[in-house]
């Protein structure tokens, strides 16, 4: 490629010649200043200079490409499409990188009509929608799937439905789906699912007993045990029993250190005014947005050396994500937490938190709403948070303390 200069210069967009240079330069400076996200030109000097490191794939890149190629040749091969989508979904979960969810959806694009999609394909689609926070679509697609003959035995689909409904704050409907998990033959998951809902509603003692009974089974896989311990820790945290929560979080992390538990424990530690420990818990986690947000908040509170870098990076990521307007909705919770803890902008945090609870109603979403309402001093907002909590029937002493 002879025509390419060895050194690239990236000039900003520049309508033509010298006559108009000065005026345009002024306009461009203005235009440049309004570009939210940071960007800097790269000027490689050698051919072997590495410009970008691609995210690792679960298998080798060649294998990855071969799968994609085979799918391109046979896009309506349902088994192949589901396998490809499943791989990308795993990668999205492991890395916290939503681009993989997009790739996974693309693998399923031969079946735009859910009514005609094979069950595997439909289940993956609903799971991806859940990952992308499109909860209504996810529920709708799971219901179509679960209405099919034979789906009675699909424990995983019922469990996913129960989870999405819980995230939306629809506890009663979630209970029903938890029951179906049991009818599908996954008894442990059914009982844990019901206990989780019971704990959210404040049936704390019964829920605690259920979790403890499940944990008494010595044959449990470590990851399952860890999951149950995390649920128990969150129950104790909401019920205001810090010591019990701390012990359960630690036990869960010892068994299986997953990012979700690390983040939940970090939030707990930050709330307990132990930010330095929160930083330690997160130090080996991949720097997903959710992890980085906690690093920034804990770093700020602990006055850690890393705080400036983490805060600046989080701010940049938010700015970049917000170039797509819907990001404000998708990342409403995280952006509200950042606005509140780092920027000290209660009014903005409240706006974001309100947008967030419109679609997502986990305890943390309501907690952030309550914190923003309290910080902004708005009686209406406090009343709004109280109402929403009452409507859901959520039991959470952390929120009670704020309202």
């Amino acid at each position: 490629m002879a025509g390419v200069p060895a050194t690239l210069s990236i000039a900003p967009m520049r309508p033509s010649p010298a006559l108009t240079g000065a005026l345009l330069a002024g306009l461009l400076v203005l235009a440049g200043a309004t570009t939210a996200a940071k960007a800097a030109p790269i000027t490689p000097t050698r051919d072997d200079e590495v410009i970008e490191v691609l995210p690792a794939t679960s298998a080798s890149r060649n294998e990855d490409r071969q799968l994609r190629k085979r799918l391109a040749e046979r896009p309506d091969d349902a088994a192949l499409a589901a396998a490809v989508a499943q791989r990308y979904l795993e990668q999205a979960r492991e890395s916290g990188d939503p681009r993989f969810a997009g790739l996974a959806l693309a693998a399923l694009r031969a079946w735009p009509d859910p009514a005609r999609a094979p069950s595997d394909v439909l289940f993956l689609r609903a799971t991806l929608e859940q990952y992308l926070h499109e909860f209504d679509a996810s529920v709708a697609h799971l219901r179509i799937l679960l209405a099919r003959p034979g789906s009675v035995r699909n424990a995983q689909a019922w469990l996913t439905l129960a989870t999405v409904l819980r995230v939306q704050g629809r506890y009663a409907e979630s209970d029903a789906a938890c029951g179906d998990v049991g009818r599908a033959g996954a008894d442990i998951y059914s009982r844990a699912c019901l206990a989780e809902n019971a704990a959210l509603r404040g049936e704390t003692a019964a829920a605690r007993r259920s979790f403890q009974a499940l944990l008494a089974d010595a044959r449990l896989a470590p990851s399952t045990r860890s999951w149950l311990l995390t649920s128990l820790a969150e129950l104790e945290e909401r019920d205001g029993r810090a010591a019990a929560a701390d012990a359960a979080f630690r036990a869960a992390l010892r068994l299986d250190s997953d990012t979700y538990t690390a983040i939940a424990y970090a939030d707990f530690l930050i709330a307990q005014k132990r930010p330095a420990e929160a930083l330690a818990v997160l130090k080996d986690e991949p720097r997903t947005d959710t992890v980085l947000l906690r690093l920034a908040i804990a770093g700020q509170k602990a006055n850690a050396a890393s705080r400036e870098r983490d805060v600046a990076e989080m701010r940049d990521r938010i700015a970049l994500a917000n170039e797509r307007p819907e990001a404000r909705i998708f990342h409403g919770r995280e952006q509200a937490m950042f606005a509140l803890a780092i920027e000290g902008d209660a009014a903005h945090a409240l706006e974001l938190a309100r947008g967030d609870v419109a679609r997502q109603r986990e305890p943390l979403d309501l907690l952030v709403l309550a914190q923003a309402a309290r910080a902004s001093g708005s009686r209406d907002a406090i009343e709004e948070a109280r109402q929403l909590k009452a409507t859901l029937g959520l039991h959470d002493r952390r929120i009670d303390a704020l309202l």
Binding site: V4, P15, E94, A155, D258, A327
Partner: protein, 398 residues
């Protein structure tokens, strides 16, 4: 984010129980936003420049840039792939009425990775509501979006989010005001049905003359002296309206016939002139017509001037028409509508202006203030337009 990650935990546990395979991967990814490309579109009269930033990691999925599959993109690999990148991307972006050519290339580091920068340009005037067809990564990632910022001189930046639509004829995202309009079947596609939009190009014609300030200003210049008669000593107000109406009718008819001729010739692709010539030439017609009001120098009657200059304005209408993408099937019908729309709009303007001027004609300062002052303003505006259109700068806010 509990909801996604909790599902991870839950699903992980469920997989163990249900016997599904669980792949553990150490994720070292740094990017945690969805895939976006960034389009900065700068529109000036007769010139469009597009800077398009596309993430290399997204391009790798579509084009396998990493030729040695070592998970590292070197400058050599990117450089070698650049023609494929350009071809792939440019096939997936069309801005109606603005055929794009690549004018430059570069690389940019954003906080979610390295981006290829494509610089594209077109010598066209971006329509008020441009239709942008965007299909980048449609087959690779349906959650991908193009973030377009359209900047016109002297106007606020307009942001739109372009959703990739798989390449199929007629699919286009309309870029307008606050964001992406609904996907529209091309305007023309609705026309053969002769339904509600049967007269849609009539409306476009009206809109174009009413908001086409240059054509209106030119007409005004021709009309300013029409309520005065030239006598051997001085200009005298006409006595009756009919004395003004006939010269006005003559001028307007000549202008109309002339621009209809060139509009037709250009629309039927029999004659074509570049907007780079026509747009400044229209500005010149305004300056000359205004100058003649102050110091008469046209060697022929104004009817003849209106005719010749009307030929130039017709080409100006034609470039708008090209952007409207008239339906092939009903081309003549659409063209007729557009022209009738122009004439109708023009008639209304002429009627209003003539009435006002007629009412003012006996004012002693009419010649000095209305003709002299009005023409001077027209000369200044016309001159500035000429500069804008030849030098590609923006001076006037309209």
């Amino acid at each position: 984010m509990r909801c996604s990650e909790s599902v991870g935990v839950l699903a992980k546990a469920a997989r163990v129980a249900l016997g599904l395979v669980f792949l553990l991967v150490a994720g070292v990814a740094s990017a945690h936003k969805a895939s976006d490309s960034y389009l900065q579109i700068a529109a000036a009269p007769g010139r469009l420049e597009v800077r398009w930033d596309i993430a290399l990691r997204d391009l790798d999925v579509a084009l396998d840039l990493d030729s040695d599959a070592d998970d590292k993109l070197t400058w050599g690999e990117v450089r070698a792939a650049w023609p494929r990148i350009e071809t792939y991307a440019m096939q997936r972006l069309t801005i109606e009425g603005c055929p794009l050519t690549a004018t430059g290339r570069g690389l940019e580091r954003r906080n979610d990775g390295a981006y290829a920068v494509l610089q594209l340009a077109s010598s066209c005037t971006l329509p008020a509501t441009p239709r942008i067809t965007y299909g980048l990564f449609a087959e690779v990632d349906p959650t991908h979006r193009g973030i377009a910022k359209v900047q016109r001189p002297g106007q606020a930046m307009v942001l739109s989010v372009l959703e990739p639509t798989a390449a199929r004829p007629g699919a286009a995202a309309a870029v307008s005001g606050a964001g992406v309009g609904a996907e529209t079947a091309a305007n023309g596609a609705a026309l053969p049905g002769r339904g509600a939009s049967r007269w849609e190009f009539f409306g476009e014609g009206v809109r174009h003359i009413v908001t086409g300030y240059d054509h209106v200003l030119f007409l005004l210049c021709l009309l300013l002296p029409s309520v005065l008669r030239r006598t051997p000593v001085a200009r005298q107000p006409v006595a009756r309206l009919s004395q003004a109406v006939w010269p006005v009718a003559g001028i307007v008819t000549a202008f109309t016939v002339a621009h209809s001729i060139t509009l037709g010739l250009a629309a039927l692709k029999i004659v074509s002139l570049t907007p780079a010539f026509i747009e400044p030439a229209i500005a010149v017609t305004i300056v000359l017509a205004a100058l003649d009001n102050v110091v008469p120098f046209f060697p022929v009657r104004r009817v003849v001037v209106a005719f010749f200059f009307g030929l130039i304005h017709g080409f100006g209408f034609a470039s708008v028409l090209a952007e409207l993408n008239l339906p092939r099937a009903d081309f003549v019908w659409a063209l007729l509508q557009f022209n009738l729309g122009i004439e109708a709009g023009q008639l209304v303007i002429v009627a209003v202006v003539t009435t006002v001027l007629f009412a003012l004609r006996r004012w002693p300062a009419y010649a000095r203030v209305v003709i002299g002052g009005g023409s001077t303003v027209a000369i200044v505006i016309g001159t500035l337009w000429f500069i804008e259109r030849t030098a590609n700068v923006s001076i006037l806010p309209f």
